[in-house]
């Protein structure tokens, strides 16, 4: 049997071995108590500054259209944003445009609200699932009570204390879109013109949003779990973003190492076979 060179052997590594190395790397990084100071990028800083500029009692809409599939990316963002809103003592309402997004955001918001002394119906409300985002935004821009009718607990919108003095989206200060899908375009297109937008996409969606940042159509952006970590640092809290960041960084280093090693091995193998 012909002896294989080290490069040939490297090109034939069982992918399951790489999976195990990746898993061990993630576990080790999650357990590590190493703090990496982030260089907070301008979109995250602008996001923070926009929320920071809110006054107590201002109204914010949180559009939460994520579910279990992107929990690791969107949950850290969602939690960090809600904590910041509650710290600023602003009122907020949550709306979901995907069926599974309703319960997950309601459950999380209830937990965070209890921790921060917020009362559902008085300080915040969840509008539940609404089927068509365009119709919903256009309707809410005119009359929220007529468009949404009831919150998730079946209380008529007009009877909610949190909605006092609020008729439509024109009375809101800003909307925060936490989503793994293309809901941002609809918020940009159909919202009242003065309503500011902040964006929390998954990392996959972030690259496409830079055009909106550049044109000023959105004011700030938190990119995935990494962005949530940067935001948590600005807030001075330890959330899921902070817990994930070491594993994110170290798994990236490992993957870059694998890519370099694979390419190097392929080049060396080619050179060997050419000679």
């Amino acid at each position: 049997m012909e002896a294989r060179s080290i490069w040939e052997r490297m090109m034939r590594i069982d992918r399951r071995i790489l999976y195990v190395i990746l898993a061990v790397n993630i576990i080790a990084a999650l357990m590590a108590r190493v703090a990496i100071e982030p260089d907070v990028p301008p979109p995250v800083k602008r996001f923070y500054d926009t929320v920071e500029a809110l006054q107590p009692g201002d109204m914010v809409m949180v559009s939460s259209t994520w579910s279990a599939g992107t929990l690791a990316e969107n949950q850290p963002q969602f939690e960090a944003v809600l904590k910041h809103l509650m710290r600023k003592r602003v009122r907020f309402t949550i709306i979901s445009f995907a069926p599974p997004a309703r319960d997950i955001s309601h459950r999380l918001a209830r937990r965070i609200a209890e921790e921060n002394g917020y009362v559902e119906g008085k300080d915040w409300a969840h509008f539940g699932y609404t089927p068509d985002i365009i119709i919903a935004i256009k309707g809410m821009s005119e009359d929220i009570a007529q468009t949404i009718r009831q919150d998730v607990r079946r209380t008529p919108i007009a009877e909610l204390e949190v909605m006092r003095g609020i008729k439509s989206l024109k009375d809101y200060k800003l909307v925060v879109d936490v989503t793994p899908s293309d809901t941002l375009g609809n918020w940009i297109s159909y919202r009242p013109p003065d309503l500011k937008i902040l964006y929390c996409p998954t990392s996959v969606m972030a690259a496409e949003a830079y055009t909106f940042l550049d044109s000023g159509q959105i004011l700030g952006m938190i990119t995935g779990a990494k962005g949530a970590y940067e935001y948590e640092r600005l807030l001075g809290i330890v959330g899921l973003g902070t817990r994930f960041i070491n594993a994110i960084q170290f798994s990236h280093v490992l993957i870059i190492f694998f890519i370099l090693l694979g390419n190097f091995g392929m080049l060396m193998q080619r050179r060997a076979s050419a000679s």
Partner: protein
């Protein structure tokens, strides 16, 4: 011993965690090899997702927007809305298929109108932003940051033009046009590479989320913290 008591599925909360763990291991077992355990949980997950969506559709849509307005407000005109929507199902009939086109036509008409509004509010500000970027120092400009803005704006302009040239197929690319198009292709590759990097980051975060769940919720090891 206390840890073991807390660890075992002796309460509803712990039972939920254990079910989550079994589902996680079942789905990740595909990484080892194709197996019936994975297949069963994959189908169960898809079925659950579809079934779960049915609840909000019934409660948040049909009940909230259709049944209650009829029952409480007496909006009897809405009685015809659901049958009208169900005309869509005539698409499966050769004889009555034309009825479904009435609903499809109404939907296309409505969304065509909305698309006009979408274009003006989504793309015009971007066009305006792209065309009004300063490429040199205006008279009142000062500061180092502004210099970096000018530099960025030039890069933006070069990328914009070269990528647009790359996608211009009305004439053959030759000479300077060809070189510009090649430059545009390189810029596109860099952009797509950045997007792919972000995609890898997202997928990694999802994996990390699951590992975190196993360590924190299942094994009750307090991890991370930066």
């Amino acid at each position: 011993m206390d840890w073991l008591n807390e660890f075992l599925p002796t309460s509803t909360e712990r039972l939920n965690v254990w079910i989550g763990v079994i589902c996680t291991f079942a789905i990740y077992s595909i990484l080892y090899r194709e197996n019936p355990f994975y297949r069963f949980f994959e189908h169960m997950y898809i079925g659950l997702a579809a079934g779960y969506a049915l609840g909000p559709y019934l409660v948040d849509v049909l009940y909230r927007y259709w049944w209650e307005p009829i029952r409480i407000e007496g909006a009897w005109g809405l009685v015809f809305v659901v049958p009208f929507g169900m005309y869509l199902y005539f698409i499966y009939s050769e004889r009555y298929g034309w009825i479904s086109r009435i609903v499809i036509g109404a939907l296309i008409g409505a969304y065509s109108g909305l698309a006009f509004q979408m274009f003006s509010s989504r793309y015009l500000p971007q066009l305006h932003g792209a065309l009004t970027k300063p490429l040199w120092f205006p008279p009142n400009a000062t500061g180092e940051i502004f210099l970096s803005n000018i530099f960025n704006n030039w890069i933006f302009l070069i990328i914009l033009i070269s990528v647009m040239v790359y996608f211009t197929f009305s004439f053959e690319h030759r000479g300077a046009v060809k070189r510009t198009a090649i430059l545009g292709r390189w810029f596109l590759m860099i952009g797509l590479g950045a997007m792919f990097g972000n995609t890898v980051m997202a997928r990694m975060a999802l994996l990390i989320g699951r590992v975190y769940y196993l360590l924190d919720s299942w094994l009750m090891i307090r991890v991370g913290g930066g």
